[in-house]
């Protein structure tokens, strides 16, 4: 009489039923929605972007741009503060990551030491000041850089979310990775280029007066731009250049709303409304400058520069060379707000919904064909015991699906390959046991003894061989990215579940059969 303790039976049955319950929703699911199985506890399997279609983007915030900009801000503040304290200075410059200036007089002679110290201290703890002789250099320190990176990345994530998911319905994954990177995973994308257009621009909108003292051609030929102004390109290709005052009159932060519409000539345009503060400023500027062109600048390019006809408050219209899709996108990004820094796409993997569906179908067929072939081969090789192993194999597949659902792990296309591969390898443990039983039978043992010996002798081999494969899978998981990780997940799960099914499920079946039939001979 072969022994299989009752508690073990209970464990096996419990695990198998739990697996089935968790795997079941996938059978009835449609497009990942649970249908008619709401009473079950589990979720359907999380499909990777390569299977359901979608975009994976790894972005980098251009911190250097933010730092440089911060330095310009600091230098402007310093200029004002030093003038106020009447400390004379020269060559105040904002560099890529530092601000430098020189004192004209000996600070001790002028007795302004404490005022200078206060000014420098007021910059905040994020900055380090270095002084050698009359020269002073100001830089961001480690903590300052860290704060700046944190701020920039967090703000960027918020803006990206508002741009990609304005209605809050798409469940995008937007995560920070490392110091200055952001991972975006957006399921179900039809047009990945649109995604990149939406996050590819900073969308900094400013209104600046056009400088009438000189023309762009003059500035270009003489190489001199009037002080306080800059030369900006037109947003239209071949649209020339404009000389625009550096001073920003109204900027995008003061926008209350933006929407796509049409101008009086029925050309696509973006309508905007300013908030109270914006309306006040806009009214003042337009009132004071009637007859002057007012440049609408988006990301340092002049979209248009209409001449101010009358005083305008509150709302206005951005016209330019747009089509309807472009005005829709522009309105959306303006509503979402400007990014603190440009984003650089480091990596993109986008899969259209059609390919994803095809991949699932192909994977399913491969899995079913593989399963069928292995089942037939096992029965042909081991007869009834082959049937036992096949039942275990099917339980194994159910357990993998159940575990994937329960853990909410992501199933990717290589992950499906992992399941198919596991089916091939899962029978290995059974093969080891069966071969061992055959040997024991040839050695003249009786049926029950041979089975007992087969299991106990194969055990250490099974554990050794599976553990080593698990190591390989583990490293795949740790170092792999995206789809490869999915492969490692199903492979690891498959190794664990196949050990369980081979050692417990088949054994239970064999024990039940032997105890019921009490065979004198075993054909294996």
């Amino acid at each position: 009489m072969l022994q299989f303790e009752t508690w073990k039976k209970a464990v096996v049955i419990f695990l198998v039923i739990t697996g089935i319950i968790y795997a079941l929703p996938n059978l009835f699911s449609q497009n990942g929605e649970k249908a008619g199985t709401a009473f079950l506890p589990g979720q359907t399997i999380n499909l990777g972007l390569d299977l359901q279609g979608g975009s994976h983007l790894l972005l980098q915030t251009d911190l250097n741009a933010v730092i440089a900009e911060r330095m310009v801000g600091i230098s402007e503040n310093l200029r004002l503060a030093l003038r106020e304290e009447k400390i004379r200075f020269r060559s105040l410059k904002a560099g890529k990551d530092e601000v430098t200036f020189s004192l004209r007089d000996d600070i001790i002679d002028t007795g302004k030491q404490s005022q200078l110290d206060t000014i420098l201290r007021d910059l905040g703890r994020d900055f380090d000041t270095q002084r050698s002789g009359q020269n002073i250099t100001i830089r961001l320190n480690e903590a300052g850089l860290q704060n700046l990176a944190n701020q920039t990345v967090e703000q960027s994530i918020e803006i990206i979310r508002r741009r990609l998911d304005p209605d809050g319905t798409k469940e995008p994954v937007i995560q920070r990775q490392g110091k200055d990177r952001i991972l975006v995973q957006l399921p179900g994308v039809d047009d990945p280029e649109r995604i990149k257009r939406l996050i590819g621009r900073t969308a900094r909108l400013t209104f600046q007066l056009v400088d009438m003292r000189s023309t762009a051609q003059e500035a270009r030929s003489s190489g001199r731009v009037p002080p306080g102004s800059v030369l900006l390109e037109s947003a239209d290709e071949g649209g020339g250049e404009y000389i625009v005052e550096k001073r920003v009159m109204v900027s995008g932060e003061l926008l209350e709303n933006a929407s796509a519409g049409f101008d009086q000539n029925s050309r696509p345009a973006v309508n905007f409304q300013l908030n109270a503060e914006g309306a006040r400023r806009f009214g003042r500027v337009t009132g004071e400058n009637i007859g002057r062109p007012f440049a609408i600048v988006l990301d340092n390019k002049v979209v248009s520069a209409p001449v101010i006809q009358s005083q305008i408050f509150g709302s206005g219209q951005i016209t330019g060379n747009f089509n309807v899709a472009e005005t829709n996108e522009l309105a959306l990004v303006l509503r979402a707000g400007a990014l603190p820094a440009p984003l650089i796409v480091l990596e993109e993997r986008s899969v259209g919904p059609g390919l994803g569906a095809d991949s699932i179908a192909a994977g399913e067929i491969a899995a079913l064909v593989g399963l069928a072939l292995v089942i037939i081969y096992m029965v042909m090789s081991y007869g009834l015991f082959g049937v036992f192993a096949d039942i275990a194999l099917m339980v194994n597949v159910v357990l993998i699906l159940g575990a994937l659902s329960a853990l909410q792990a992501t199933l990717t296309l290589p992950g499906i390959a992992g399941i198919v591969l596991t089916m091939g390898m899962a029978v290995d443990a059974n093969v080891l046991v069966f071969e061992r039983i055959r040997e024991e039978l040839r050695g003249g043992r009786r049926v029950a003894q041979a089975i007992e010996a087969g299991y106990s002798r194969a055990l250490s081999t099974i554990i050794d061989s599976n553990l080593t494969t698990l190591f390989a899978a583990l490293f795949l998981f740790v170092f792999g990215s995206g789809p490869v990780k999915g492969f490692a997940v199903t492979l690891s799960l498959g190794i664990v579940t196949s050990m369980f099914t081979a050692l417990m499920v088949t054994r239970l079946l064999i024990v039940l059969w032997v105890n019921a039939k009490r065979p004198k001979q075993l054909e294996l």
Binding site: G354, S465, F475
Partner: protein, 312 residues
């Protein structure tokens, strides 16, 4: 009752006799692989080299010549275009563009707009140079760490000779697989790397099964000479080795035939791995330990559990 038996019940093949030949062939293959790796090099996919890959599906039959003509006018440098899967599908690979990541993204937009409405963009992959270098670094690290962990485990479970033999057999499998990719010019990408690690896992699995039997037989047949024991161990495990290789191969063939174009290369690499892994367990791993004088006493702690009926 009918039984399919690919291997006779008790085969008596003199495996060790072939070890010198197999060893020679393997050494030559490994050297050739290293040579190919350095002289020819791998056809690195965009995962490691950086670049752009676009899979597009035509509404009708894809005209690869026309697509090539259109894309070459864009001036994006080296463009490889091939049919992929069905006759409607084309795969477009574009080399890394001059300049930073922004230039790459601009190139993608140029290509998709050049393909126009006649094509449906099914997949876009772009890997910037920074990420490509990181992925390559991580990949190499993964392979090295995995090999090392496996070696430690084997060393822990068996004698050191087994550990060295297993590691060399593994290195043999990994190197010849890399060599095969250099020889055939198949694309070497992240999926290939995953395949190599899986091959390593499969191969070591196979080796461990044989080693387990060797260890057992070393204790069982104390008076036999070592060669005879090794040969017997191989013969005893041959049936299992073939069984498992065949079931795994069956599953892989199902993927190759039905799993779609994306998985095909991966499964092909694995199929090669199953073959080479089985070969190396027998001829390289066991061949190598036959050169050592193995410890025969069982005064260590790694004994096999004695079945109940054998206990007194």
């Amino acid at each position: 009752m009918f039984r399919l038996k690919l291997v006779p019940s008790v085969p008596s093949i003199h495996f060790l006799k072939y070890v010198p030949i197999a060893g020679g062939v393997s050494i030559a293959a490994v050297l050739a692989s290293i040579g190919l790796f350095f002289l020819v090099g791998l056809n690195l996919g965009i995962d490691f080299r950086g670049g752009i890959l676009i899979e597009a599906q035509s509404k009708t039959t894809a005209d690869i010549g026309a697509v090539r003509g259109d894309l070459e006018t864009l001036g994006l440098g080296d463009i490889a275009i091939q049919s992929f899967g069905t006759e409607k599908d084309v795969l477009i690979r574009v080399q890394k563009q001059e300049g930073d990541e922004r230039a790459q993204v601009a190139a993608i937009e140029k290509i998709t707009s050049s393909l126009g409405d006649g094509y449906d963009i099914r997949r876009t992959e772009f890997v910037g140079p920074t990420v490509g270098a990181e992925l390559a670094e991580k990949g190499i690290l993964a392979v090295i760490c995995a090999l090392f962990a496996i070696m430690i485990y084997i060393w822990f479970r068996f004698e050191w000779q087994f550990s060295i033999a297993a590691l060399l057999a593994l290195a043999h499998d990994v190197l010849t697989t890399v060599g095969l990719f250099a020889l055939t010019g198949f694309e070497f990408n992240l999926a290939t790397l995953a395949a190599i690690l899986t091959i390593a896992g499969y191969s070591i699995n196979d080796t461990v099964v044989v080693f387990d039997r060797v260890r057992e037989n070393l204790r069982k047949y104390k008076s036999w000479d070592q060669g005879k024991i090794l040969n017997r161990s191989l013969n005893e495990t041959l049936s299992r080795t073939v069984m498992t290789s065949v079931t795994t191969a069956i599953a892989l063939i199902a993927i190759i035939l039905f799993g779609g174009a994306v998985l095909r290369d991966f499964a092909l690499a694995m199929l090669w791995g199953v073959t080479i892994g089985t070969y190396s367990s027998i001829f390289i791993a066991v061949g190598l330990i036959s050169r050592f004088d193995l410890k025969r006493s069982d005064d260590e702690d790694n004994q096999i559990p004695t079945p109940e009926y054998e206990r007194s």
